[in-house]
Amino acid sequence: MDWLGQKRAEMLMQVLLVASAVVAFLVGYVRADFQLMLLVYAGGVVLTALVTVPNWPFYNRNPLKWLDAAEAERHPRPQVSAAPAAGGKKRSGKNK
């Protein structure tokens, strides 16, 4: 699941659960049936779990673009142990 997919899953979970709670309460109140309210809500929870828990393809439409491995080799990490700490900081400042 990519970053946008995570955000979407979180949002969907909250919206679906609150919506099913509202529907369940209204149905239960209108029909004057407490058990029906619980059943409708339980259905909503199961539906929410099915939609938001598995890693559906829908959540992977914006994959992260990692740098190529060759790119990382061209810019090696500065060796901290070779130079004094203060010198290392100055050098990184110049590079920016």
């Binding site: 659960l17 309460f25 004057a32 809500y41």
Partner: protein, 167 residues
């Protein structure tokens, strides 16, 4: 980390939080019910009235209890406990309550009833104060909800009097 287990846990905890909220809402909706219960108790016969060996007065009587408590029931009502108590004043106590009959109403369909019975529990005074005593018969009830607060109320019926003599 945003794994399968993490998301399943998030759904479960949030679902239970919301469940608490709708239970609270269901309990709150009980406040919009304005019940109009009716009750009446007739004393059909005074079977006997005597002083026990230990000096306490005891009465046995036959009662006709009728009530319509169906308006107490809402969609959030589990059951209603109802009891009829004799209430009177003595020099020692401002209020004496003696339960004579009780019952549990499990559903609205049973909330309208007419019962012909002798007192289920013994009507004994702690002393000898019942001769010529004026007393009330009070129907008390406790509404037990499926979720939330328990309500209690009563109907007081006045004007009953015990005889001046044992019989």
């Amino acid at each position: 980390m945003h794994s399968f287990g993490h998301r399943a846990n998030a759904v479960a905890t949030f679902a239970v939080t919301i469940l608490a909220a709708i239970c609270f809402a269901a309990s709150f909706s009980d406040n919009f019910n304005t019940p109009t219960p009716t009750a009446s108790v007739k004393i059909l016969n005074l079977n006997w009235f005597q002083k026990e060996a230990n000096g306490n007065d005891e009465v046995s009587m036959t009662l006709n209890i009728s009530a319509d408590l169906s308006s107490l029931f809402t969609w959030n009502t589990k059951q209603v406990f109802v009891f009829v108590a004799a209430e009177y004043e003595t020099p020692q106590n401002a209020l004496n309550q003696v339960s004579l009959w009780d019952g549990i109403i499990p559903a609205k369909e049973h909330a309208k009833f007419l019962i012909h019975t002798t007192n289920k529990y013994r009507f004994i005074d702690q002393g000898s104060n019942l001769k010529g005593k004026e007393f009330n018969l009070t129907m008390h009830w406790h509404i037990m909800p499926k979720t939330g607060k328990m309500f209690a109320d009563k109907i007081v019926m006045t004007g009953y009097r015990l005889p001046e003599l044992y019989r």
